[in-house]
């Protein structure tokens, strides 16, 4: 039996190494200085889906919601072995919290086809909420297996999965279709394949055609380029609000029950601090003071 998989991925600002260039003197953040990357655990999710395909057959579809720039993670998915990619992009989707995001994703997944397995990373590093996976599962009426570390068994319509979380682990058996959120310890995502990179280097969303034409002037017109890409399945489809069946009131900012009241930049307070010389004498005085104040002893 083969299995149809869909992987939900996100392009995120790399918040892991926020350097001095990103934080301004006032303590505010210059977001554009952060590189946009493939959310790390989404790569683990993609890898798990690709391994299912290798063992059992089937197709791997990758879906992302975001601005046009998010086509980058879709190309990266093709380089790593995805069969089909879809970009969900519309101004009406923007400003969505996890509730509106999961609703939009659910509508797009329904249009994309019937899937046995829905994969996503445990959480995205820009928000760290870990909410979208379970919320998509709920909206699709699917069981969820969070913190999936490995697929131990897959047979007919049942999957056995090892889960790994803080201070514990679990072996669970679940009926398909279901949704898995994948942790970073699950696998080591394969790098892009050189062959697939060459085969998919022209893969693009229509908004990228003008830039592509500059690099490939032999196509002359966007129409010629589009024809070339379509014939080779290199045209990355963009689905807008008109392409999926949705209740518009549940999209984007309008469909988001949470609102940001305020944002404070963390500036560590320069409280009173006493400099202690790193000498035997200095340390002795410090300990004496701490003993006197009942901090030590």
């Amino acid at each position: 039996m083969t299995y149809q998989s869909i992987v939900l991925v996100k392009q995120v600002p790399d918040t892991r190494n926020i350097s001095g260039e990103v934080m301004t003197a006032k303590g505010t953040m210059n977001r554009s200085a952060l590189p946009a990357i493939f959310n790390p655990e989404d790569l683990n999710a993609l890898e798990m889906a690709l391994q299912v395909r290798e063992r059992f057959g089937g197709e791997v579809t990758v879906l992302t919601m975001g601005p046009l720039k998010a086509a980058e993670v879709l190309r990266e998915s093709l380089y790593r072995g995805a069969d089909r990619v879809i970009l969900l992009s519309d101004r009406e989707f923007a400003g969505a919290d996890t509730q509106a995001t999961s609703y939009t994703l659910k509508c797009a997944i329904e249009k994309a086809g019937d899937f046995d397995l829905v994969f996503c990373g445990r959480q995205a590093i820009d928000g760290d909420t870990a909410q979208v996976g379970p919320q998509v599962a709920e909206k699709m009426g699917l069981p969820q297996i969070t913190y999936a570390e490995s697929i131990v068994d897959l047979e007919a319509d049942e999957i056995v999965v090892q889960r790994a979380f803080d201070l514990g682990s679990e072996l669970v058996k679940c009926k398909l279709p279901c949704l898995l959120t994948v942790v970073s310890s699950a696998n080591r995502p394969r790098p892009a394949s050189a062959r697939k990179r060459i085969a998919n280097k022209l893969a693009a969303v229509p908004a990228e055609y003008p830039a592509l034409l500059e690099s490939w002037p032999e196509f002359k017109t966007e129409e010629a380029l589009e024809k070339h890409l379509s014939e080779r399945q290199l045209k990355i489809p963009i689905w807008t609000v008109d392409d999926i069946e949705v209740d518009k009131s549940q999209l984007g900012l309008t469909g988001s029950p949470t609102q940001v009241y305020k944002v404070n930049f963390v500036v560590l307070e320069g409280g009173e601090s006493k400099e202690i010389p790193a000498t035997a004498e200095g340390i002795k005085e410090l300990i004496d003071e701490l003993v006197k104040e009942y901090v030590v002893g």
Partner: protein, 340 residues
């Protein structure tokens, strides 16, 4: 009918033991309930767990809904979500809080999606306050301010759910303080008989292993924490020795954990444990916000770093510019002499 202002706390239990974060939330819930002039309800699910209701009352619940059923023996998302969703629909609480544990982060989004309300993850503070929506030009009184770090801890966002009820949040363990159990506290215990559908049992737990934490950072009076400036096993041994002399525990920054000096359970900061010991010694820790916000409420902080401009010195009470390899032995020797 006036809207309920009651605050619900999901009481997480594992093998008949209530998790610390649930007790912390009951205490915080009581504090919020004073402002709202409302009650704190505990939602307790499991099997043969009835006596835990009394513990919840002693720690701050005014009323406990006990849902005792064999299908709830081990946590599974769907049956637990079914119970919570049914009860929320029936009682319409104002606020619903869950610990940001692996269980809470699995369950909360499922519930929030089903009852179609907003959910804020990993809050580090909760307050009650007013909010004016600029877009709708409408003022909302006494909303729950859900306060959480974002963008790697570099910003703190205050989130509100103006319209949907309950206002839901998961809260990080260890950032709030539990009440000492008060045996004289009175409350009501109410039983609820759940009803399930066969689809709730799509998942079966074949086996489950829960490890005891090997370190208790939250209750340690003293923590000596190692950072990237601690080089190799010998220097790390000095950190352990100092912690031992002071009767404390060993903590670590992410850099020390990533370097393999110590296990992740020792990590302090936003992605680790939040601590507030009597004395915190930061050995070779640079003090990225990610770490500092997990320890800056410590009573006294000593920071040792070779870089005089290291951010850790901004939160330190005592600043020692120097190498841990030299300063730690001095501290150890001085304390040893004192003890004689």
């Amino acid at each position: 009918m006036t809207e309920s202002k009651d605050i619900w706390v999901f009481i997480e239990q594992e093998e008949g033991h209530i998790s610390d974060v649930s007790l912390e939330l009951l205490a915080k819930g009581q504090e919020l309930a004073q402002t709202l002039e409302s009650q704190v309800w505990g939602l307790l699910c499991g099997h043969q767990i009835e006596e835990l209701g009394e513990s919840a009352i002693q720690c701050g619940a005014d009323r406990v809904l006990v849902v005792d059923h064999p299908e709830l023996t081990l946590y599974r998302t769907l049956p637990y979500a079914r119970v919570a969703i049914d009860l929320i629909r029936q009682h319409q609480p104002y606020i619903f809080l869950i610990g940001a544990t692996p269980l809470g982060r699995d369950l909360a989004p499922r519930i929030a999606s089903a009852v179609q309300v907003g959910l804020t993850a990993d809050c580090t503070d909760l307050q009650i306050g007013d909010y004016t929506s600029k877009k709708e030009k409408q003022e909302y009184k006494n909303l729950l301010y859900q306060i959480r770090p974002a963008f790697g801890g570099n910003i703190i966002a205050t989130i509100v759910n103006p319209k949907t009820r309950p206002q839901m949040a998961t809260v990080r363990p260890g950032v709030m303080q539990a009440n000492t159990p008060d045996a004289s506290r009175k409350g009501e215990i109410e039983k609820f008989d759940p009803s399930f559908e066969s689809s709730d049992f799509a998942l079966e737990v074949l086996s489950r292993e829960i490890r005891e934490p090997s370190v208790n950072l939250k209750d340690a009076p003293v923590i000596v924490a190692a950072g990237g400036g601690v080089q190799g096993a010998d220097e790390f041994h000095l950190v352990e020795e100092l912690a031992h002399i002071l009767g404390g525990e060993v903590g670590a920054s992410r850099a020390a954990v990533d370097a393999g000096l110590v296990s992740r359970e020792h990590q302090i900061g936003q992605t680790g444990t939040t601590v507030r010991p009597r004395l915190y010694i930061a050995a070779g820790i640079s003090g990225a916000i990610q770490h500092s916000t997990g320890m800056d409420k410590s009573n006294k902080i000593i920071a040792i770093n070779t870089d005089p401009d290291a951010p850790i010195f901004k939160v330190a009470h005592y600043k020692i510019v120097g190498d841990v390899a030299e300063v730690l032995p001095l501290l150890i020797r001085t304390l040893r002499e004192k003890a004689k």
